[in-house]
């Protein structure tokens, strides 16, 4: 199969359907990314690096937004999230020979990405133990986001409420225990089913559901009485 011979549908961008995340227990059909990854393997095995890179570029285009969202919600730092995404894709390409075609490429990539994000978080914790913060990068990023997400037609009061609500939600998500946070973010932000998350994390699917349940319950309790100002 040639690199340019595959007509691809537009990448799925965000959640669709009634629920914010994929239905728990739903079986994901074999994604186009998985097929493309198999073709990349074939091209690399045949020594056709250029075609392999072209195909991988398509995978990057389709997956990078989703990957960036995950990394951003994990790290809360634009530059670091950007680097984590780059590292994950490069690692996926360099180790694509070990990818098993009957599994989901998206799940495999996400697993690589999460491991990278966790490593970065650990490194950050180590750094913060020994070093004083040079600049509040998170706040700077936050200001950029505030500026970018501010709709012109919203009153200043509504903007302020929306900001407070979002800040509160972020703070509450950060307060969740590690596993609950991981499961919540994967299901809620990255649109993965509980089965996918179980596959990524190595947890039992029912355990994933319990973590998700507890995470949502905590968040709802914490956010109770707060107006949805968005």
């Amino acid at each position: 199969m040639t690199a340019g011979g595959t007509a691809l549908p537009a990448p799925v961008d965000g959640a669709s359907g009634d629920k914010p995340f994929a239905a728990p227990g739903s079986v994901r059909p074999l994604e186009i990314e998985t097929t493309l990854a198999g073709q990349v393997q074939d091209h690399l095995a045949a020594g056709n690096d250029h075609a392999a890179r072209d195909l991988f570029a398509q995978i990057v285009t389709r997956q990078q937004r989703r990957a960036s969202r995950i990394a951003w919600h994990y790290l809360r730092d634009v530059a670091e999230a950007d680097e984590a995404v780059q590292d994950a894709f490069v690692k996926a390409y360099t180790h694509i020979a070990s990818f098993q075609r009957h599994l989901s490429f998206e799940v495999w990539l996400t697993r690589i990405l999460i491991n990278g994000c966790l490593d970065r978080q650990k490194a950050r914790t180590r750094r913060s133990r020994w070093m004083l913060p040079v600049a509040d990068a998170g706040r700077r990023d936050q200001e950029i986001i505030e500026h970018a997400t501010r709709p012109a037609d919203r009153s200043p009061e509504a903007q302020l409420l929306a900001r407070e609500w979002r800040d509160q939600l972020i703070a509450e998500v950060q307060k969740l225990p590690d596993r609950q946070r991981l499961v919540f973010m994967m299901c809620h932000y990255a649109d993965h089913s509980t089965r996918d998350v179980a596959e990524m994390t190595g947890l039992n699917e029912s355990t994933v559901r319990v973590h998700l349940f507890r995470a949502i319950r905590k968040l709802r309790k914490a956010m109770e009485g707060r107006r949805h100002a968005i």
Binding site: A15, P20, R53, A57, V60, W72, A148, F213, I230
Partner: protein, 202 residues
């Protein structure tokens, strides 16, 4: 008893946790079909969770704009390309078979000339250094006492200087008397041997 058929402990309605269980487990609770109040609460739950999701997605997408993603994609592809074509390590240049060695270019006679030139250079440098050292020591010997005279020694030197000047004046008068136009007077007097008086330092 399956959870779908459990009822809320409060009575005939599902609790918040049970609604959440329906949502997370994608279960189908019969009660939800019949109870309008619980259906409304369930819809509210779904709406609030969707709202959380949308807010999170909007925030992330406003951070990672299309330009940033394009830039990210280019950097990823550059890194992958570098991986496929790692930078070549330039080998140390080796003599190829058709490239004659330097000693072949220089014949036996030329080699002797080169060796003699090198020896001459070395000898010249050695002599140069030796001469330089001798001159250097001589200069150092002559100038050493002047370098740091003590105060008592300075007074002594001033006296010496004074005596030297006196002596020079005396000798100078004699020399003046020996001028050719005064030769006749000189003849009439006892010849005087004029010696240069030098001051010998202790």
């Amino acid at each position: 008893m399956r959870f779908e058929n459990r009822l809320a402990p409060t009575g005939s309605h599902l609790s918040d946790d049970q609604l959440l269980e329906v949502y997370v487990l994608a279960g189908d609770n019969r009660h939800l079909h019949s109870c309008r109040q619980c259906t409304t609460r369930f819809d509210e739950l779904v709406r609030s969770l969707r709202h959380m999701h949308e807010a999170a997605v909007r925030e992330a997408d406003s951070t990672f704009t299309a330009e940033r993603l394009q830039d990210q994609r280019e950097r990823i592809m550059r890194r992958i390309e570098r991986h496929d074509h790692p930078a070549e390590v330039v080998a140390f240049p080796q003599r190829t078979a058709n490239q004659p060695a330097v000693h072949r270019l220089l014949g036996p006679a030329r080699r002797w000339v080169a060796a003699a030139a090198a020896a001459g250079l070395a000898a010249g440098m050695f002599l140069g250094f030796a001469m330089d050292r001798r001159i250097h020591y001589a200069v150092v010997d002559h100038s050493a006492p002047q370098s740091a005279p003590a105060p008592a020694r300075q007074a002594e030197l001033r006296d010496d200087q004074f005596f030297l000047e006196v002596e020079a004046a005396l000798v100078g008068s004699r020399v003046r008397e020996m001028r050719p136009d005064l030769g006749a007077i000189d003849l009439m007097t006892t010849p005087l041997e004029i010696r240069e008086v030098t001051y010998v330092r202790e």
